[in-house]
């Protein structure tokens, strides 16, 4: 009966282990079977692949988090796109300061009209209103420089000959200086002539 001591215990009502079951257990427990030839190579390949994989798997969560984060940021930016526009809308504020020189520009109105088509093109190319204003400001600055050159040609005076206090181009432009300053400038020029 010693041969049954290693056998699993049976529950009540189950028939006791037979000799052939003891033999079956011993035979199957000690069984050996030659594995297929390629199995060893397959296992080693799989192990090699796994030693490389961990780095990638460690990085994967970070990459996924970065992608998810960028998507979240992009979605927030898209949803609040109108709120983020005002920084570009500040451009007209600078332009309004430039607009003070408008009276000086009047003598070269023809030239200003010549510039207009390119300005129109710029308007068509720029989708945003703020960018349009910025391009207009750039055109006006160019016009201002051209006007100053014209004035020098007309008067025969260098810009250095005009007292700094009266030189509109040298004096800091104040938003409060509007038409009254321009009138005074015109009078001064007449006296010089």
């Amino acid at each position: 009966m010693n041969q049954f001591k290693d056998m699993p215990t049976l529950g009540p009502g189950e028939s006791p282990w037979a000799d052939h079951e003891v033999q079956l257990r011993e035979v199957l427990n000690g069984a050996e079977e030659t594995p297929p030839e390629g199995l060893e190579a397959r296992i080693l390949e799989a192990l090699d692949a796994q030693t490389i994989q961990p780095n990638a798997t460690n990085r994967a969560p970070w990459i996924a988090a970065a992608v998810a984060g960028s998507i979240v940021v992009a979605s927030i930016w898209m949803s609040s796109g109108e709120e983020l526009l005002p920084p570009t809308a500040t451009v007209p504020v600078e332009v309004s300061a430039e607009q003070v020189v408008e009276p000086v520009r009047q003598p070269s109105l023809k030239q200003a009209l010549e510039v207009a088509p390119s300005e129109k093109e710029a308007v068509e190319q720029q989708p945003s209103e703020g960018a349009n204003e910025a391009s207009q400001a750039a055109v006006r600055t160019e016009e201002k420089v051209a006007d100053r050159q014209k004035l020098e040609v007309l008067t025969g005076l260098g810009s250095s000959a005009i007292p700094a206090s009266l030189d509109l181009n040298r004096a800091p432009i104040q938003s409060s200086q509007t038409q009254s300053d321009t009138v005074r400038l015109t009078g001064t020029l007449k006296l010089k002539q």
Binding site: M7, P8, G11, E14, S15, A18, D19, H20, E21, Q23, L24, R25, V27, L28, N29, A31, E32, E33, T34, P35, P36, L39, E40, R42, I43, L44, A46, L47, Q50, T51
Partner: protein, 193 residues
């Protein structure tokens, strides 16, 4: 555990490829035989063995030296085989059960016979897969009904009834084999005459 195996395991923990190859070659035939017991094809057994070896090498640090390494590897192999079995089950568990009625003569013959490895394997292979799995888990690999129920996702009573029916069928198959091997077993021998 012998010192040579301890050294081999230490080198395997350090991912020494030559040690891993040596360990594989030492236990490969036993692992493959265990895998083959739980499946009908050598290809699937090779897949189970491969998966088991990868688990062995990956979790080698968890192995406690006071346990039997062979037993640990076998448990991993059985668990992997059961995972494959459940994956391939597809409602076959109860469908493949076909009762074969054993005669009292078959049962007696099975108890007396001394079976070869081949006969035992043939008898086990003849069992419906559900019975075979429970008989092997309980009788050969020593799992309890509770463990088997958890592994297979069935009720404990199902495990008990599958074992009982499987044992009866096994006895019937082995008895029939025994009687075929010795056709005149019930007849008086010529020498005696």
């Amino acid at each position: 555990m012998d010192q040579a195996l301890k050294d081999l395991l230490e080198r395997c923990k350090a991912e020494d490829r030559s040690a891993q190859t040596a360990l594989y070659r030492r236990f490969a035939s036993k692992v493959f035989a265990t895998a083959l017991r739980y499946t009908d094809s050598r290809d699937e057994a090779a897949d189970i063995a491969q998966e088991s070896w990868i688990k062995v090498f990956r979790h080698l640090a968890k192995f406690k030296e006071f346990n039997s390494f062979e037993g640990w590897v076998r448990r991993i192999t059985v668990n992997t085989a059961i995972t494959h079995y459940r994956r391939n089950l597809k409602h076959r568990y109860h469908d493949d059960v076909t009762e074969t009625l054993a005669t009292p003569l078959d049962l007696e013959a099975s108890k007396k016979a001394d079976f070869t490895m081949s006969e035992i394997q043939t008898a086990m292979a003849a069992l419906p897969k559900g019975y075979r799995t429970v008989v092997q888990l309980y009788l050969v690999d020593g799992y309890s009904h509770k463990e088997i129920a958890e592994m297979l996702g069935v009720d404990v009573n199902t495990s008990k009834s599958q074992l009982s029916r499987g044992r009866k069928q096994l006895q019937a198959f082995l008895g029939a084999m025994s009687r075929r091997a010795t056709p005149n077993a019930d007849m008086p021998s010529a020498e005696k005459k």
